[in-house]
């Protein structure tokens, strides 16, 4: 068992992908940074110096302290505190956690929807294909942020009052629905190629159900490019989430994401408390940049034309 695991590890270490990874300093730095972001986000309750959501720990006398290297700063609050005395560093850890959760959940939702519709359009063809792709065209002519805003607005109108408790899922839904087109188009294209190959025709001759052919035979062969899109889409989804939260229609201020933190901090900028908004902003940019770099590298590494 251990031997087989070692073999698998050695194989993956020798693979083209790993070779390209070891020879791309950008990708390695980006991977380390991203791993650090995910690590602190996942372990936020244990690694954060304070728990910003524990009201018992908050003390208003600690509010709006500057970062520790500025006069008046307190070493137990390395990046300063906000207006309620919450430690900025800790809120960033917890905020990144929510940003990542929303981003990843939205990407999974988009991916599921897009891949399913793309498979269907490519495999069935005809009117189904024409309809799905028309809808995709129409949606593609509007920016994702607008569609996300619209879905968010509708959700607010449909469920008045209950919004704060469902904010997470509303965000996932609105960002997810706004992003499916790219997946659908890619998957449809490769499905139309795969559909005519012998293995699919053989499967059809056996009388396997079309849904089973799509899911078990075509799907694994069209997933490659989907993963690249998904990686870059995580960055986009995180930015979209931050933007919606910044606009005040995202997650509520009681459990802030990075975008909410930036919006809260924005109010204090004019009175000189720049750290409340700057550090969450920096954290967001670093995280997104790392994901973008990883996505760029993955795209080039998986592109056979560039080898």
């Amino acid at each position: 068992m251990a031997g087989r695991l070692a073999d698998a590890l050695r194989d993956s270490w020798d693979s083209d992908l790993a070779w390209s990874f070891r020879h791309s300093p950008y990708a390695m730095v980006a991977a380390i940074v991203f791993a650090a972001c995910v690590g602190t986000a996942v372990l936020a309750p244990w690694v954060a110096p304070h728990n910003p959501f524990d009201l018992a720990q908050l003390d208003l006398s600690n509010s709006l302290k500057p970062p520790m290297w500025i006069a008046g700063g307190d070493p137990s609050y390395p990046l300063g505190t906000d207006d309620q005395g919450r430690d900025i560093l800790s809120t960033i850890f917890f905020g990144a956690r929510i940003s990542l959760e929303v981003g990843i959940a939205a990407v999974l939702f988009s991916m599921g929807l897009g891949v399913a519709l793309g498979l269907l359009a490519g495999y069935v063809g005809g009117k189904t294909d024409a309809f799905i792709m028309r809808v995709a065209d129409v949606q593609l002519s509007f920016p994702a942020i607008l569609i996300a805003l619209l879905i968010d607005g509708v959700a607010r109108a449909v469920f008045p009052g209950a919004h704060d408790s469902m904010a997470f899922w509303v965000l996932v839904l609105s960002i997810g629905v706004s992003g499916w087109v790219q997946y659908a188009r890619t998957v449809r294209g490769s499905t139309m190629v795969e559909k005519n190959k012998e293995y699919v025709q053989a499967a059809r001759l056996f009388g396997i159900h079309p849904l089973a052919i799509m899911a078990r035979h075509v799907l694994p062969n069209v997933l490659g490019p989907v993963l690249v899109i998904a990686t870059i889409h995580i960055a986009t989804a995180i930015i979209t989430e931050a933007t919606l939260s910044f606009l005040g229609v995202g997650v509520p201020a009681t459990e802030p994401s990075l975008g909410t933190l930036i919006r809260i901090g924005n109010d204090f900028m004019f009175s000189g408390e720049w750290w409340v908004t700057l550090f969450p902003g920096l954290a967001l940019v670093i995280m997104v940049l790392a994901i973008n770099l990883l996505g760029d590298w993955l795209r080039d590494a998986l592109n056979p034309r560039l080898r």
Partner: protein, 328 residues
């Protein structure tokens, strides 16, 4: 050509009808207008009377038809939050958004195309490399963060530029412009940069990659072999052929600039349509949302149409009406 234009026009109308249908469904299924207008103490008879007056007892398609007719006349009802007709609200806000968007688009083109051409012609120079790395950072920076950073530096720390609002505006007929006053122009600088930066990086990257692609083509080698000057080859042949995708993307981006102005307007409290829309979303103000949606859709559809027609001007290959080219 005529067949192509007609087909495009029909498509545009279908898209607009679909959007109008979405907007109509918002009205239809979100909230109960009768309840909203009468409150909870209305008698059933009153409710039936109002339902009849509003035409809500008519069949679905009749109501949809009325909605479209009203929309064509620019009537979207009354804002639930402000209590004024939506058309009036939007007309007040339109100049601010358009001025900002057009300035941002001009900035993006005026800097993006030359920078992209330069990066394409000298891909290994340090300036091009810096610009390319910078553009990746630019893509990762959310629009609102750029705005906040600009405000932090130029308004809070340095105090050079105003941080919010439009400055003094001059009213010319129904149009309010900030381009004629000093404070108006000063207020425009930071929002323009914020809104234009993303498009600028996008255009630069696009022009660069298209230039690199085109410069490898046979006809460029041939033009060089004929002894044409670098200038004639680079600008007469190469740049001209990169312009097709650039026009498409720029055209489509103009629409997204107007849509993205939502964020910039929120950051700078710019009194445009986007700010109105965000407030409408957070208050679930359906009439404003529906009207904004239809307006933005109209802008997008018109831009798409113009872009398609521009293809004919720029790319002679498309002028032959091939059956294969129809799907593009």
């Amino acid at each position: 050509m005529t067949a192509f234009v007609i087909r495009r026009l029909l498509q545009a109308i279908v898209v607009m009808l679909v959007v109008a249908f979405v907007a109509f469904s918002l009205f239809q299924y979100v909230g109960d207008p009768v309840q909203l207008m009468m409150g909870q103490f209305a008698t059933p008879a009153d409710r039936i009377r109002l339902t009849h007056e509003l035409g809500l007892d008519q069949p679905f398609y009749v109501q949809f038809f009325h909605f479209v007719v009203n929309a064509l006349h620019g009537q979207f009802g009354v804002s639930l939050r402000i209590g004024k007709p939506v058309s009036v609200l939007l007309a007040q806000r339109l100049p601010a958004t358009l001025e900002l968007s057009i300035c941002a688009a001009l900035l993006a083109l005026a800097v993006g195309i030359p920078a992209g051409v330069y990066a394409g012609l000298r891909p290994n120079s340090w300036l091009a490399r810096t610009a390319m790395s910078g553009s990746l950072v630019g893509v990762s920076l959310p629009t609102f963060l750029i705005g906040i950073l600009l405000i932090l530096v130029f308004a809070v720390k340095l105090g050079w530029l105003p941080a919010f609002g439009r400055g003094d505006v001059v009213h010319l007929g129904g149009w309010s412009t900030g381009l004629l006053t000093r404070t108006g122009l000063e207020s425009l600088i930071m929002p323009t940069i914020t809104l234009g930066l993303f498009q600028l990086t996008l255009i630069m990257r696009l022009v660069r990659s298209e230039m690199l692609e085109v410069l490898r083509a046979d006809y460029i080698k041939f033009a060089r072999a004929r002894g044409l000057s670098d200038r004639a080859v680079n600008f007469g042949h190469a740049l001209r052929n990169t312009l097709v995708p650039v026009i498409t993307i720029t055209g489509l981006q103009l629409g997204s600039i107007i849509a993205f102005s939502i964020i910039t307007e929120q950051v700078f409290q710019w009194p445009g349509m986007g700010l109105l829309f965000v407030q409408a979303v957070s208050y679930a103000d359906i009439p404003v949302m529906a009207a904004y949606l239809c307006l933005i859709a109209l802008v997008f559809v018109v831009i798409n149409l113009i872009v398609d027609l521009l293809y004919f001007v720029v790319d002679p290959r498309l002028r032959v009406d091939r059956p294969g080219a129809a799907g593009r």
